[in-house]
Amino acid sequence: MNGTQSAHSHRDYTGSKIGMWLFLFTEFFLFFGPILLYSIFRFRYPQAFIEASRALDTGVGVFNTVLLLTSSLTMALAITAMQKNKKGLTLILLGATVLAGAVFLVNKYFEWGAKISHGVYPGGEALAGNTDGGAIFYGLYFFATGLHGIHVLAGMCIIIVAALMVHEGRINSKDFVKLENSGLYWHLVDVIWIYLFPIFYLIR
């Protein structure tokens, strides 16, 4: 009370990271659900899944994968740069990360748009009355990539906020845990896509 350190000014670097990792585990389990469902339906409707997967554009899928992997790189490089007190380089790398995320989302927009304009979406004409598993493939595809896309957007917002804090100096080479935690979130978004990509795009 008088002169004793209040809990709120206390900084705990390790504790902060533990909290973030625990939160990431919850995100992991969130995506575990639809991926588990996917594997069950893949097992049950192999033919329909193969056909539906062929209809997805592998090229765009690969390009998006490379985008996210590269954005993960730039994010990790940004952490190192911040630890080495290279503020300008950090900001450039963070900008590149956000840009990659934005391009990813734009690609997704065109991908989805193409499918939707052909009626290939849950509730669309092309899938009406489908019971052989095709409707479920696309149901899972839109759900999983949609949920993932929301996380990409959230990640971009988090990184933009972190970049502002770097710019202001509130994140610096002495206190960078908020940047690290932002990076952890972004990497998780990347890891989820690493799994989503082959299960939807590469079934042959």
Binding site: Y13, L36, L69, S72, T80, Y195, R204
Partner: protein, 97 residues
Amino acid sequence: MDAKETKAHIVGYPVLLAVWAALLGLTWLTVGLSGTGLGSFVIVAPFLIASVKAFLVVDYFMHLKYESGFFKYILLIVLGTVVVVVWLVYQDVAYRY
């Protein structure tokens, strides 16, 4: 409270770039393998390769390799839970009717 806070490990640029190159290589491998006639292995292969990629990201980009044992331990708990849950659900799905 941990009085002795170890200095955070800095992962060098070359290491990160090497990991990125490996990730791209594995992506190319996954795409190449899809559609090849490896039988049932071709279903599992993408998952396995994806897991290798995931672990590269987790270990190097997310610094797990350089963290204390505690972080690896809790990741193990999570993965253990996944294994058990998947196995039990599989006991249902594989033996229905």
